[in-house]
């Protein structure tokens, strides 16, 4: 299968390793990956902060790049539930002429181009039908389901099924997993005190698992959780799902 990669600006700048892991993983599974460096940002930061005119400009631009990728590939995959949700669920509101206006996600047009943007674990489990990707990662790991993966995309246990199939991996359940980490984009700065109060509880739960690694499908939330773990010098590390799945013996 030919897969177009939507890296996201955040990963591009801060977490190139995640992008490399996606490429490694998909190539290992026998697929071809294409990347168009014309892509910048899907507009999520501006959209959720209320700068909708600016977000619309960025969305138009990204829609062009993305449809370009889709014309040469079977579908587009991104290692970000949040950005996938932005394109699939917010674009119809933000740029209805480009992404088919619909009032609710329920009424989305399944044939619309933006429905072909997949979050990584969706692609692996739903499209490829694999859960064992041949990974090996002998560490104690806990999984935090990010809000957008859980509630916007409804990924359910897909990431967990992938993790359970990783050889050597000791998966520990995270108490209070469903609760937000307190990131929320600009919320983390506009309401920094509340944001920190929320992540403090997330950290407490993570520490209680005695896991060495916290895994998620959004590096934005992991930056928040990891930033707090790092400040506390906890020694606990955060890793994107793709990075764990890319590891082999």
């Amino acid at each position: 299968m030919r897969v177009g990669l939507f890296i996201t600006c955040f990963n591009d700048a801060l977490f190139p390793g995640t992008g490399e892991a996606v490429v490694t993983l998909l190539e290992r599974l026998g697929h071809e990956v294409a990347f168009d460096p014309a892509q910048t940002c899907c507009g999520q930061l501006h959209w959720t902060t209320g700068y909708h005119r600016e977000a619309a400009g960025l969305a138009r631009r990204f829609a062009e790049v993305c449809t370009g990728l889709l014309s040469e590939n079977d579908l587009v995959v991104t290692p970000s539930a949040s950005c996938a949700a932005m394109v699939r669920q917010a674009y119809p509101q933000l740029v209805p002429d480009l992404a088919g206006a619909s009032d609710t996600p329920d009424a989305a047009d399944p044939d619309a181009w933006h429905e072909n943007v997949y979050e990584l674990s969706e692609f692996l489990v739903d499209v490829l039908g694999v859960t064992d990707v041949g990974a090996y990662f002998p560490h104690r790991v806990t999984y935090h389901p990010t809000c957008h993966s859980l509630r916007a995309l409804g990924l359910g246990d897909r990431p967990l099924r992938l993790l359970r199939a990783v050889k050597g991996l000791d998966l520990v359940e995270l108490p209070g997993a469903d609760e937000c980490c307190g990131f929320g984009g600009t919320f983390a700065m506009k309401n920094a005190d509340v944001s920190v109060a929320i992540v403090a509880d997330k950290i407490r739960h993570i520490r209680a698992t005695t896991a060495d690694v916290v895994c998620a499908v959004d590096n934005s939330c992991l930056t928040h959780i990891g930033g707090a773990l790092s400040r506390l010098r906890s020694g606990v590390r955060v890793m994107h799902l793709a990075e764990i799945l890319a590891e082999t013996r």
Partner: protein
């Protein structure tokens, strides 16, 4: 740090961004006290967790819960789109049943109508049933100003009133108080409190009952809210647990009910949906202990005069917003409060005097307009985690409305002659991201700068708005090469295995592969 170009602009903006009012939202400031209040935090944590658990059980028991929610949503949407028709029908039905209907454009109107009605009875005391709309319009203050003494009759509202306090939670207004505090309050404020009053909730509740019994004994006028008003029959519906509602709608001679215009439902049979959704969503029970319904005046039973006050107070502003109007579906169950990670830590006070929690964050700015810095900050008092939308019995997509209202807040600022620092920054970022070349240049520049301020792969201190991040959290230093750069090099280079733990990588911990 002498960067020029877009980066220089961002940095300049960053340095000042948190000094201007819009980026120091009032919510953030108001929340600080709550965050440091140990008892409030403990009580809220327990209360929200308990209530959420009860709700999950109560809703999970019905295998047609999804269908009930869909029906509830549609009934409310239909009502809102035909609101003028149903209000007129409600007025007709109530009048035919012997009630009188009054219309109030705003809080002042409503307070004037209610105080006028009480004054006409010649009474100087009224019993009140907890009503959020009463709180919204500041009814108690208005009554007192008119020389009328309001008695709150719900236990928690009584505690709040005696303590000259503010409500913390729509359903549990006094949840911030400890039993010891309540005991002291009762000993100080109640006439003839039991001398041996202990601090067991049952003893405290009994003391309140004894006091309120005397109040009810002589009450001639009651003021209530209502959960629903049925247009085709003129029926008002109140759900409650303590029985003070039954007392208030039954014993006095005059009953005055104040409701927002969005409380109307078209038909009696629509209650078959809401009397399932509301008790399970609000208190996590199959039915609240008491539900009272009345239609106008019942000969020989209950009040001889019934007045219904229909309040707008900004609801038509919300109605005019195609996206925002969905907030008017709200049936005030408070389920969204208890699942909200923000509310759980701040409680209600930070949301201001009207409606707390996620629903307050979308209702209050719409009712009052986003002009005040506090109201403009409310749509930002959310991580957009979506837990509220999942639990809402009438399926209000709160995150969507929050984002929509954020858009309105920003639009209202675009008219300013000098852009806010945040706006300058966001525009500049958008301009940069709007072009591949500009983006790559900024990426290189920012990366270089960020790596300069990093120590050991961590950034621990940043200026301006980003300082709010680094106050309590590290930021990983960006790797030297972005993904796009690595991709370009990729043709000639194998993808590095084991790169994940490489020194200088973005991660803040390291893992050694275990052998074997």
């Amino acid at each position: 740090m002498n960067a020029r170009g877009p980066l220089g602009e961002w940095l300049a903006a960053l340095r000042t961004a948190d000094e201007s009012p819009p980026t120091v939202p009032k919510f953030a400031v108001a929340a600080r006290d709550a965050l440091g209040d140990t008892q409030l935090r403990r009580n809220l944590r327990t209360a929200t967790a308990t209530m959420s658990r009860l709700r999950v059980t109560a809703a999970g028991e019905l295998d047609d819960w999804a269908e009930l929610r869909a029906a509830g949503q549609a009934i409310k949407d239909h009502t809102l789109l035909n609101l003028d028709t149903y209000l007129e029908e409600l007025e007709r039905s109530v009048t035919e049943a012997g009630g009188m209907v009054h219309w109030a454009r705003d809080a002042d109107d409503a307070c004037a109508i209610v105080t006028g009605l009480v004054a006409a009875t010649g009474q100087a005391e009224v019993v009140k049933v907890k009503s959020m709309v009463g709180q919204e319009i500041g009814l108690n203050d208005a009554l007192e100003a008119a020389g009328i003494r309001p008695y709150e009759t719900e236990l928690a509202e009584l505690i709040v009133q005696l303590g000259a306090d503010r409500s913390t939670h729509s359903l549990l207004p006094a949840i911030h108080r400890s039993r010891a505090e309540i005991r002291e309050l009762f000993l100080r404020e109640l006439p003839d409190p039991p001398a041996d009053l202990g601090d067991e909730p049952a003893q405290l509740a009994a003391a309140a009952r004894g006091y309120l019994r005397d109040v009810f004994r002589t009450a001639k006028v009651a003021i209530s809210g209502a959960n629903f008003a049925v247009a085709d029959t003129g029926t008002l519906v109140v759900l409650e647990a303590e029985g003070n509602g039954r007392m208030s709608v039954t014993l006095p001679e005059t009953l005055i009910t104040v409701i927002g215009i969005e409380k109307v439902v078209p038909t009696w049979s629509d209650l078959e949906v809401f009397l399932q959704l509301l008790p399970r969503s609000s208190v996590g029970e199959r039915m609240t202990p008491y539900v009272s319904t009345w239609t106008g005046v019942a000969p020989g039973d209950g009040p001889r005069a019934f007045h219904l006050v229909l309040l707008d107070n900004g609801r038509t502003n919300a109605l005019a917003d195609e996206v925002g109007r969905a907030a008017l579906r709200c049936i005030r169950c408070s389920a969204c409060l208890d699942v909200c990670p923000v509310y759980e830590r701040t409680g209600g006070a930070a949301y201001g005097p009207v409606h707390p929690g996620p629903i307050g964050a979308i209702l209050t700015p719409q009712l009052r307009g986003p002009e005040s810095p506090h109201d403009a900050s409310l749509p930002y008092a959310s991580t957009l985690c979506g837990a509220c939308a999942d639990v809402c019995p009438v399926r209000i997509d709160i995150p969507r409305i929050l984002v929509h209202l954020r858009g309105k807040v920003i639009e209202s600022r675009r008219r300013r002659p000098v852009p806010t620092p945040e706006m300058a920054m966001m525009r500049s970022v958008a301009w940069t991201l709007g072009d591949g070349g500009r983006y790559e240049a900024a990426l290189r520049q920012t990366t270089r700068w960020a790596r300069l301020v990093a120590r050991g792969g961590r950034i621990q201190r940043l200026p301006g708005l980003f300082g709010k991040w680094t106050d309590a959290r590290d930021l990983p230093a960006p790797p030297k090469e972005s993904f796009r750069v690595r991709w370009q090099h990729r043709a000639g280079l194998p993808v590095r295995r084991g790169a994940l733990g490489a020194p200088g990588g973005p991660r803040m911990g390291r893992l050694r592969r275990s052998s074997g």
